[in-house]
């Protein structure tokens, strides 16, 4: 299933078509706004169950179409683009390892890689070769079309370096598994590790038809990454409910679901953890989640791209980082059907071991085959298991 290049913008992004030529001159707005929302929401989830403030979507955040989906409506000369490129490259080179030394941020090599990808996204299809030919012909005045104004490219790259705005927010997308997912401020950028959850589900459904045909749930779906990944491997079987408390995430996830034409297979619901699953208790074949799991005290020391720009709501798991994971473990038994499968991502090692122990000793008889699975770096990252039959 390939994403259509021209997604229907009407439902999840009501004002894209009319507004998008004006909104990207007000770039800082979505950022600040999204953070306000997430902080409000964050207090809500970890403190009192009072009703959430009404969503303020009408006025903001302005819907940002990812660069690669924008029409190539700008033109520039090859020399202007190359001038920007060499400026951006030298800015990246000037960073050396200073980000890495201060907070394990990206070094020059990684920044240069990002710059290449930014070029990839901003150039229109066949244009890279056009550019090389122009360089080879020594014809710097060749006109090429771009998906953003060169001035905007300067400001985007400044944001990348000066503000440490994540690359994925700059281009508005993240390549994840075989998907290109739209992301933006307010939504967690899906991580490579999380790709493994889909693999784990793939292993399970290849051995159990019943699970393949069942109902799956991705709680705290963010960009919709796991839900879309699972829906794709389920093929013609089963269906998926993707939930998120954050309306921005619900909007982005819906957009991504539609882009992959999976709206008949994935239902995106807004609400906190079990809330949107009312009515399917005991019927869920599979439950997956990458909940917030970073201990609150660690947030301030995070890599700037993460700590300063990604939604705290999606990162902060309370004092030990276990608030949401424990909440999920406690509710999983009653939500899953007998033999149902679960997989949760954790902060690694300690949390994994704690959860295995917790499920075996505090929730005796509920689960079987509770296991830990390592990520690419060899860190115990996931807890998986089945509801007892």
């Amino acid at each position: 299933m390939k994403p259509s290049l021209r997604p229907s913008f009407t439902r999840p992004w009501p004002c894209i078509a009319s507004n998008f030529s004006t909104f990207f001159f007000q770039l800082p707005t979505p950022l600040t706004h999204a953070r306000n929302i997430t902080q409000i929401r964050h207090r809500h989830i970890h403190s009192s169950p009072s009703p959430p403030p009404p969503p303020q979507l009408a006025s903001s955040p302005p819907p940002l179409l990812p660069l690669f989906l924008r029409p190539p409506e700008y033109t520039t000369t090859v020399s202007d683009l190359l001038e920007w490129h060499s400026w951006a490259k030298s800015l990246a080179a000037s960073i050396g390892s200073s980000f890495e030394d201060s907070d394990n941020g990206p070094d020059s090599t990684l920044l240069c890689r990002e710059l290449n990808w930014l070029m990839e996204d901003v150039l229109d299809g066949s244009d890279p070769s056009l550019m090389h030919k122009a360089v080879a012909r020594d014809d710097p005045d060749t006109i090429i079309s771009l998906k953003a104004d060169v001035q905007e490219l300067y400001s985007l790259w400044k944001q990348r370096i000066d503000e440490r705005r994540p690359f994925q927010y700059i281009v508005g997308c993240q390549h994840w598994r075989d998907l290109i997912l739209c992301v933006r401020e307010g939504v967690l950028i899906p991580r490579p590790e999380t790709e493994i959850i889909v693999e784990l589900v793939g292993d399970v459904i290849s051995k159990d038809e019943g699970l393949r045909e069942g109902l799956w749930a991705d709680l705290g779906t963010g960009s919709g990454a796991i839900a879309i990944g699972i829906a794709k491997i389920l093929g013609n079987y089963g269906r998926v409910i993707a939930t998120d408390l954050n309306p921005v995430a619900v909007q982005v996830a819906s957009f991504n679901v539609e882009r992959y034409s999976l709206q008949d297979k994935i239902e995106v619901r807004e609400g906190s953890w079990w809330e949107p699953l009312k009515g399917v208790e005991g019927k869920v074949a599979g439950l997956v989640s990458n909940p917030p799991y970073i201990p609150s005290d660690d947030i301030s020391g995070l890599q700037a791209e993460v700590g300063r720009h990604e939604p705290r709501l999606a990162l902060d798991g309370g004092a030990e980082g276990m608030d949401d994971l424990l909440h999920l473990c406690n509710g999983a038994a009653s939500m899953l059907k007998p033999g149902g499968f679960f997989a949760f991502e954790t902060n690694g090692e300690k949390q994994c071991k704690f959860l295995v122990d917790y499920m075996q000793n505090q929730l005796p008889g509920s689960f079987c085959n509770v296991n830990t699975v390592s990520d690419f770096a060899g860190i115990l990252r996931f807890v998986t298991g089945f509801r007892n039959r």
Binding site: N104, G105, P106, S108, T109, L110, C112, R113, E114, W117, S129, A136, P166, F167, Q168, H175, W176, R177, D178, L179, L188, I189, R191, P192, E193, T194, E195, N290, P292, Y293, I294, D298, L302, Q303, E305, V306, E310, A314, L315, E345, T346, N347, G348, D375, F376, A377, I379, R381
Partner: protein, 454 residues
């Protein structure tokens, strides 16, 4: 050889204004039968024998001044034609020698004996194969003798022209067209002979890795990358640097270049090995002479469907580079590199250019398969699992070429001995002589190996 008579234009029938008419030279009777009919007819009424196109090249309306111009032109034309014929003749000799004509005739006899065996048709599949091989050999022998006939025809025309006082334009044009066609046929023949490996017609993936030697070696790797990109552009191949890891001060630590186009792999496969540079390093404060190395590795760029190789999962060690630290939500780095090692053979590939880990894993796996297929081919192993790991170890160990910038200029291939002092052109992608010489060298090596084997 007296070249004086060549000063005349080809169209000589009305050349009296320029030089007095001469009697047509006597044609040696022995040569007559070898000549096309055309030359026996009077020039003015000539009908071209080949293609029977009416082609009256003797233009009676030519003014004197044009004729004077065409005289010079004609002379040069003849010289270059003669040179072309000589070259083609040498080439035909080369090809006939390196194709092992005697060997082929032996082979033909061998297959014919088999085909005439009474029990030949008992095994139909085998019989079919034998017949195919028989036709192949026959075709090849026929082609080789065709080449000889054609080049001899052109040679005769040239010789004849030299003996004649007047130049016959139609005849010379015919020789030129024979040579043109012959060269095309020779090119095709050479290509199919020299590039007959199973993957030769595919695109190529070129990996360049800087050897030890610090910045100088990294700069050298960058120069090599540029050289191959330029070469690819000259061949009108589509080239794409898919991965590049920059050196600290200058140059690159490694790079991966994809070259798309027919026969890219066939041409580039011989570039695999260590390339050595000797120069006064710009990165050496004292300006001392320095030697650096870079490794070049070449794999075919195989379409996914041709990689129907199953490698057991337990034979693969897959590692993903992660940005370090706690990982997961704590880190956001575009670090998606995947490295796969085929444990039994120790063959390793790394893929960093894709933007997701899964995409890198898929790409790395198909590169690994391509690499294993090539190694299997080289080792004449019928299956991946027969690959001998010990033989794979020195991946780009063998030094294949020296590039000396100082104290003199010389590029020399240590395998074929081919060398040139025009190092600038080589670095600008002028690699064809090296590539062709190597292919011929490889071909003759395999021929002599076959002879020993039989």
């Amino acid at each position: 050889m007296e070249g004086l008579t060549l000063v005349r234009p080809f169209c000589c029938s009305n050349a009296s204004a320029v030089s007095p008419p001469r009697a047509r030279p006597f044609l040696h009777p022995l040569r007559l039968h070898q000549l096309p009919m055309a030359c026996l007819l009077p020039p003015s009424s000539r009908v071209r024998s080949v293609g029977s196109v009416v082609c009256s090249t003797s233009n009676d309306q030519l003014s004197q001044s044009v004729e004077a111009d065409s005289r010079d032109w004609a002379m040069q034309d003849f010289y270059s034609l003669r040179r072309e014929v000589e070259t083609a003749s040498a080439r035909v000799e080369d090809i006939r020698a390196s194709a092992g004509l005697q060997q082929l005739e032996k082979e033909l006899a061998h297959w014919e004996v088999k085909a005439s065996d009474a029990s030949f048709w008992d095994d139909r599949a085998k019989a079919h194969q034998t017949l195919l091989a028989l036709t192949d050999v026959k075709d090849k022998i026929r082609l080789l003798s065709d080449f000889k006939t054609q080049v001899e025809e052109a040679e005769t025309i040239v010789m004849l022209t030299e003996e004649m006082d007047s130049k016959d334009r139609g005849l010379l044009e015919e020789a030129a067209s024979i040579i043109k066609e012959l060269n095309k046929a020779l090119d095709r023949f050479e290509l199919t002979e020299l590039l007959s490996g199973p993957y030769d017609k595919e695109g190529a993936v070129v990996n360049i890795t800087a050897g030890a030697g610090g910045t100088d070696a990294q700069d050298w790797a960058d120069m090599l990358l540029r050289m191959y990109v330029r070469w690819g552009e000259k061949q009108r191949y589509k080239t794409r640097v898919v991965e590049k890891s920059m050196g600290e001060e200058a140059g690159i630590k490694s790079a991966t270049l994809e070259v798309e186009g027919r026969y890219a792999y066939g041409y580039l496969s011989g570039e695999k090995g260590t390339h050595r540079i000797v120069r006064q390093s710009p990165f050496n404060a004292k300006g001392l002479r320095q030697t650096s190395f870079s490794g070049v590795e070449v794999m075919p760029l195989l379409p996914e469907e041709s990689l129907n190789v199953e490698i057991p999962e337990e034979d693969l060690e897959i590692s993903f580079s992660r940005a370090g630290g706690k990982g997961g939500q704590n880190v956001n780095k575009v670090e998606t590199a995947v490295r796969i090692t085929h444990i039994p053979s120790g063959v390793t590939v790394r893929c960093t250019e894709e933007r997701s880990q899964l995409a890198n894993k898929i790409k790395a796996l198909s590169r690994l398969k391509a690499k294993l297929l090539v190694i299997a081919e080289e080792q004449r192993a019928s299956e991946i699992k027969q690959i001998r790991g010990d033989a794979v170890k020195a991946e780009w160990g063998q030094q294949i070429r020296n590039y000396v910038f100082h104290p003199y200029k010389l590029v020399k291939d240590v395998r074929t001995g081919y060398e040139t002092s025009d190092i600038t052109s080589v670095m600008d992608g002028e690699l064809d002589p090296f590539i062709k010489t190597y292919l011929k060298y490889k071909y003759s090596m395999s021929m002599s190996a076959n002879e020993v084997g039989q």
